[in-house]
Amino acid sequence: MEEKIKLSPDSFEALPKAEELDNEKIAAPSLTFVQDAWRRLKMNKGAFISLWIIVLMIVVAFGSSFFIDHASLVKSAPNYANLPAKIPGVPINGFNGKLKVSGEWVDEYKQNNIPSGKYFVLGTDYLGRSLAERIIYGTKVSLIVALVATFFDLTIGVAYGIISGWKGGRVDNVMQRIIEIISSVPSLVIVVLMLLVLKPGMTSIIAAIAISSWTTMARMIRAETLQLKSQEYVLAARSLGESAPKIAWKHLVPNLSSIIIIQTMYTIPTAIFFEAFLSFIGIGISAPETSLGVLLNDGQKNFQFLPYQMWYPAIVLCVLMIAFNLLGDGLRDAFDPKTRR
């Protein structure tokens, strides 16, 4: 059984040189820390969608400043009071100006003789003010509170943690005792006390958050700084005569960045909840100013008859909270893949 293998001369030709080298090469380009985290975040669908929802909410809420001025927000229009949502061209009950009154859908717009061109996308409240405008404004308030909480987390929290961890010894001891005392008072009590001393409103909520929000961040940063302090690159920087603030800024902060980002994402929903909570029980932001908490409180009074007045702000608030929570989880997994399960 002899079989001749036919070999043509060109079977023995050498491969092009470049290709040969490529075989040994691992193809993916090396990624920086941030790129890597971003790639992992994109794979997490929930977190990625949440990110876009938050971006959208920020753009809408702050972009609305040009269209919704404070005067029109506060002005009441009693003829338009308590109108349900109406979006032209949407024939779904609940979005066509009809409201369920004792079991039957009644066109409230017709009943109240509203001019045919006039409509409110999410209906109106008991003073005839557009609910959509008020919700957008309320979202802006929530986001501002979130921003402020983030700001204090990033400044006081991070600085306090780094100083406490870096100095060590007695300074650390005293600073930790202070944190212990602050955090063993329920933050609610701090908030209430601030609200009592200052006038209820945005300023006092912000002041209260400034006092109570940063302790967790400071604790985590301190613990991490204690570890980073003994790293060789920090020792190298020290022995080269780098000043402490410069080491903190150039070496510690970049290495702490993932903790900072993750912790911030947990501070934000807490702050948003706090604002809504305080306004809801009537000791935070109060009428004529508005926020999601105020809207919920107003809506809750008429919930039995005009459920949409509470549902819409409630949905917006919940979506905001879910988005921040999901993004927080996503960022934690992205920056620290070890914790991912």
Partner: protein, 309 residues
């Protein structure tokens, strides 16, 4: 251990002293007067009232009297309810709040443990996803929104439970659920993470190799080990329950401390505000101390690092 304990108790007392001091002086800074109709009162009347409530004495003396009174449980007299001592106001209302808080804690932790371990056992299946989604929603939906929804749809529409007020056990069901959902979601997440860790460890493998039933493995080995760190969450839960009680008790009109607190804030009733503030702080400090001690007892590995701090 004893030295550590003494140190902790000292810091606890120091904290409470500072809270009392700060609260007292903040109250003195507060705008507004405790008399709702001061414009109509003659200077004579104001003077008599001030004398009656001890407001005519210098501030430092008022402070000393306040501190001294607090040492034997006297928190002053309420401005709002004529001549009712704050300690009586609090003690007559603490029962409802404590019952509600305890029930919510037990409900939240127990159901959270069940859901969390269920998710961990069925990891990466639809059950797991469902549990994760539920716990994210439970964490994100504010408890006061949930309370209003429960009150309307379950109590008013379906009529399963009383709408509001405080009576037998059936009155406590809806507020307990509303209050307990936060701890529930947190516990479920926590237990799931811990359990997934434990389930992949060698001794679980051994237990499986020994031929233990699935329930036996989960109940005797996995669950017990992932329960220990849960103790550290009791402190934050207490805070959440105290905060929550303010609004939940209001919605369901339960005569508890939280409802009283909100009422006294809106009516400038300083002594009551101070009393409840002290009660909340003391409660939290004691809970934190107790959980730290319990943690040290059930997990001896912790004690050493606690001592070194």
């Amino acid at each position: 251990m004893r030295k550590y304990l003494l140190k902790r108790v000292f810091y606890m007392l120091l904290t409470l002293f500072l809270v009392a001091t700060i609260t007292f002086f903040l109250m003195k800074l507060m705008p507004g007067t405790p008399y709702s109709n001061q414009e109509k009162m003659t200077p004579q009347q104001i003077k008599i009232m001030n004398e009656q409530y001890g407001l005519n004495k210098p501030v430092w003396l008022q402070y000393l009297i306040y501190l001294g009174g607090m040492l034997h449980g006297d928190l002053g007299t309420s401005f709002q309810y004529s001549n009712q001592p704050v300690s009586y106001l609090i003690s007559s209302r603490i029962g409802a709040s404590a019952q509600l808080g305890l029930q919510a804690m037990i409900f939240g932790v127990l159901v959270g443990i069940i859901i969390g371990s269920f998710a961990a056992i069925n990891r990466n299946t639809w059950i797991d996803t469902l549990c994760t989604v539920l716990s994210i929603i439970g964490k994100s939906v504010p408890n006061f929104v949930l309370a209003v929804l429960l009150q309307f749809y379950i109590a008013l529409k379906l009529g399963w439970f009383p709408i509001a007020d405080w009576g037998g056990f059936s009155y406590t069901v809806l507020p307990t659920i509303a209050l307990g959902v936060g701890p529930l979601a947190e516990t479920a997440r926590f237990i799931r993470t811990g359990m997934v860790d434990v389930l992949s460890s060698d001794y679980i493998e051994l237990a499986r190799a020994k031929g233990l039933t699935k329930f036996g493995i989960v109940y005797h080995h996995a669950l017990r080990n992932s329960l220990i760190p849960l103790v550290t969450l009791i402190g934050p839960y207490t805070v959440a329950l105290m905060t929550g009680s303010m609004v939940i008790e209001n919605i369901f009109s339960i005569p508890g401390i939280g409802e009283q607190f909100v009422k006294s804030i809106t009516t400038n009733d300083y002594p009551t505000i101070m009393g409840v503030t002290m009660l909340f702080s003391a409660g939290l400090v004691v809970v934190i101390l107790l959980t730290d001690i319990v943690y040290g007892i059930i997990d001896p590995r912790i004690r050493l690092s606690g001592n070194g701090d």
